[in-house]
């Protein structure tokens, strides 16, 4: 209780509350614009948060992260275009409901399911805090190395049908992270005698290039479009009570969102497919799925909104980001010398609790905002695509240039933008590059530290958590190989 009050004291400040409001409202608006999404917004805002207090900066980014999927459901339901990738399944049942003249019902179901998922994950975080605080110190260098390796393995094997290119992109990310002056012996690595490469390639430059600038190119080059959303009339909360009739689906989906969010490299996409499958397989009306099923809508939205809270668990407890957005947040921690990981729970538990409380409050703020502003948000959806590209490119400039006022950084970001654009065109993932960069750096440091105390390979896994993590890595690889073998046999 004392910890809870200390956490509350940390966020009961005007600057934190303003950041929370701006983050929540901004996240909903950004999420509702197809083609922008939270990754672009967070990438752009990241350097601006460096001058803020860590709790203020993180609250702002958390606000965007946690609220964008609420907004993403709006275009998914009204114009059959998901605002964020995590809202893809919402179109399956949300849009058919709109076509039947039930846009209100669909939106209110999506909002209430999202709220349920968001709150459920925060409650899990709070309940799990004592467990995490007890378990986190058991993670030494080798356990953190193995957890990062597990993240790498999972991000590769979860890209089904694209595992080899995902493995290539992870390797590319690890490679980018090694460029520059090596920090222990000060030897040059792949600098080719160029002084501008000596300090390495900044993660934020790569993130902005791959997410924001590539998206700007995509919008500027693509077909110009100005989506037309249907008019909304009446109250937006007409279908709220319906969630309680499908509480089993809401609970399971929120739970699966939490589990998938905790596992590094998995995230919203698999969480919603898993929940949607469960809902479809256990429903009394499976034929409605894909044709406007309320259960389908609840499954998708509750699952994807439960992920952001849960994704903070590996980040805060181990310092290991599970996906691109938490990888970006990791850089905010580092800039302020707040090192997430086992020590954070021991030295600054109130900081962790404050972040949980911020997540809790933002869910309430978003619901209040949506109750009054949904009709206004429809105007944002109508921004023409290419003009949106102009806006994103203008904002990307701030993100990159304000880092070090370096034209070289901007040129690198523009180059990564081209790579990101080609990857988008080919339907290939960019997240493995980011996770390769972040997790590669963690693995290098941790392996170096842990090998100093290891005499034989078996010593590396002689502690229980290390053995469990190693077992999970083997299991993930084994299941992937089994699936490959089965699909080959099927052919």
């Amino acid at each position: 209780m004392e910890l809870l009050l200390s956490g509350f004291e940390l966020i009961a400040r005007i600057d934190v509350l303003i950041a929370l409001v701006i983050g929540s409202v901004g996240g909903v608006i950004i999420g509702s614009i197809p083609g922008v999404g939270p990754a672009v917004a967070i990438a752009i805002l990241l350097p601006a948060t460096f001058s803020l207090d860590p709790i203020v900066g993180l609250t702002l980014l958390l606000g965007i992260y946690g609220s964008s999927m609420y907004g993403g459901a709006i275009p998914a339901i009204l114009i059959n275009t998901p605002g964020t990738a995590a809202n893809a399944l919402t179109t399956y049942d949300g849009y058919p409901m709109t076509q039947r003249g039930q846009a209100h019902r669909a939106l209110s179901l999506a909002y209430s399911a999202s709220f349920a998922g968001g709150i459920f994950s925060v409650v899990c975080l709070i309940v799990l805090t004592p467990v995490l605080a007890a378990v986190a110190p058991l993670f030494g260098s080798r356990e953190i190395f193995l957890a990062a390796l597990l993240g790498i393995v999972l991000v590769i094997v979860t890209h089904r049908g694209q595992t080899t290119i995902a493995a290539f992109l992870v390797s590319f990310g690890i490679f980018i992270n090694t460029i520059g002056l090596e920090p222990i012996r000060y030897t040059q690595r792949f600098t080719f005698g160029q002084t501008w490469l000596t300090s390495g390639i900044d993660l934020i430059v790569v993130v902005l290039g791959l997410f924001a600038i590539s998206q700007a190119y995509s919008l500027l080059i693509g077909r110009d479009d100005s989506p037309k959303a249907p008019e909304l009339t009446g109250s937006i909360f007409t279908g709220m009570g319906e969630l309680f009739r499908h509480k089993r689906v809401a609970l399971f989906s929120s739970g699966s969102g939490v589990v998938m969010g905790i596992i590094p490299g998995v995230g919203e996409f698999l969480a919603q497919f898993f929940s949607y499958s469960y809902a479809a397989n256990t429903s009394k009306t499976p034929e409605e799925f894909g044709n406007g099923s309320p259960e389908g809508l609840i499954a998708s939205e509750a699952a994807n909104n439960a992920v952001p809270g849960a994704a903070m668990i590996p980040l805060l407890a181990l310092g290991i980001p599970g996906e691109a957005l938490t990888a970006m947040m990791l850089s905010v921690f580092y800039v302020h010398n707040v090192v997430p990981g086992p020590q954070l729970f021991e030295s600054q538990p109130e900081f962790v609790v404050a972040l949980y409380l911020a997540l809790l409050i933002l869910n309430v703020l978003v619901l209040i905002f949506l109750s009054v502003a949904t009709k206004g948000i429809l105007q944002v959806i109508r921004i023409p695509t290419r003009f949106l590209g102009v806006i994103v490119l203008t904002l990307s400039f701030v993100g990159v240039y304000s880092l070090r006022n370096s034209a070289t950084d901007c040129a690198l970001a523009a180059g990564f933008g081209i790579i990101g654009y080609i990857l988008k065109r080919l339907n290939l993932p960019v997240v493995p590059i980011i996770l390769g960069m972040v997790l590669g750096g963690i693995m290098e440091t941790r392996l170096r530290t842990s090998m100093a105390r290891v005499n034989s390979p078996l010593d590396f896994i002689d502690r229980p958590i290390a053995a469990i993590l190693f077992g999970l890595i083997l299991l993930a690889v084994g299941l992937h190989l089994r699936n490959l073998w089965r699909s080959r046999k099927g052919m």
Binding site: P47, A48, S51, G161, Q162, T164, I165, A167, F168, V170, S171, F172, I174, F175, T178, R185, T187, Q188, R189, F190, T191, F192, I213, A216, Y217, L220, I221, D224, L270, F273, F274, Y276, S277, A280, N281, F289, R386, F387, G389, V390, L393, T394, F397, V398, N405, C410, A411, A414, G415, G417, I418, Y421, I422, R425, L426, G436, M443, R448, S450, A452
Partner: protein, 183 residues
């Protein structure tokens, strides 16, 4: 989990036009890096592999060569790669079109230290809006307002580090500091 996912139709990943070309570029780039691996990284005698400065870059580049080679080989034999929505030439011309916008971006970057953040943003947004085909007065006003809002939000309020332009030095002393600090 995978079985369940399949039951709702987890999207099948289709190879797209240009996949083989991209695969070949990846392999070629990886091989170039591989050929430079020994000269661009150090290997210290008497140290374990984990403490070697060259271990991680060499591991990463080797992984890039291995996986890009497998990916390229698979792109040749995957039947779905035969399904062509647009021609290879059209696809590659789209990739090349992104270079034009990269140059627009770099022009914005390069003029900012000279003309200042606000004027550079105004020029950039209005010119790019025109390039995108929007020619109405409303579009230009919207572009100018976008530039102004971005500058005010980031430089005036959030105080991001973007230095004043050289052009600001020629402004009257009364407003020079204001422009340098806030616009």
């Amino acid at each position: 989990m995978s079985d369940n996912s399949d039951s709702v139709g987890l999207p099948q990943i289709q190879r797209r036009t240009g996949d083989t070309v991209f695969g070949a570029i990846c392999l070629l780039g990886s091989l170039v890096l591989f050929s430079q691996m020994w000269s661009q990284t150090a290997w210290v005698n008497g140290q374990g592999f984990a403490a070697q400065p060259g271990f991680w870059p060499r591991l990463a580049v080797s992984g890039m060569v291995l996986f890009s080679a497998i990916n390229l080989a698979m792109s040749f034999r995957d039947p779905s790669s035969e399904e062509r929505l647009i021609s290879l030439g059209e696809e590659i011309s789209l990739w090349l079109r992104s270079i034009e916008f990269a140059l627009w971006f770099m022009a914005y970057v390069l003029i900012t230290p000279y003309v200042g953040y606000l004027p550079a943003s105004l020029i950039f947004t209005v010119a790019l809006t025109a390039r995108c085909g929007y020619r109405s007065p409303q579009a230009f006003v919207a572009a100018a307002l976008t530039a102004l809002a971005t500058v005010v939000l980031f430089k005036s309020f959030l105080q991001v580090r973007i230095p004043g332009g050289a052009l600001y030095e020629s402004l009257p002393a009364a407003i020079r500091n204001f422009f340098i600090l806030y616009l």
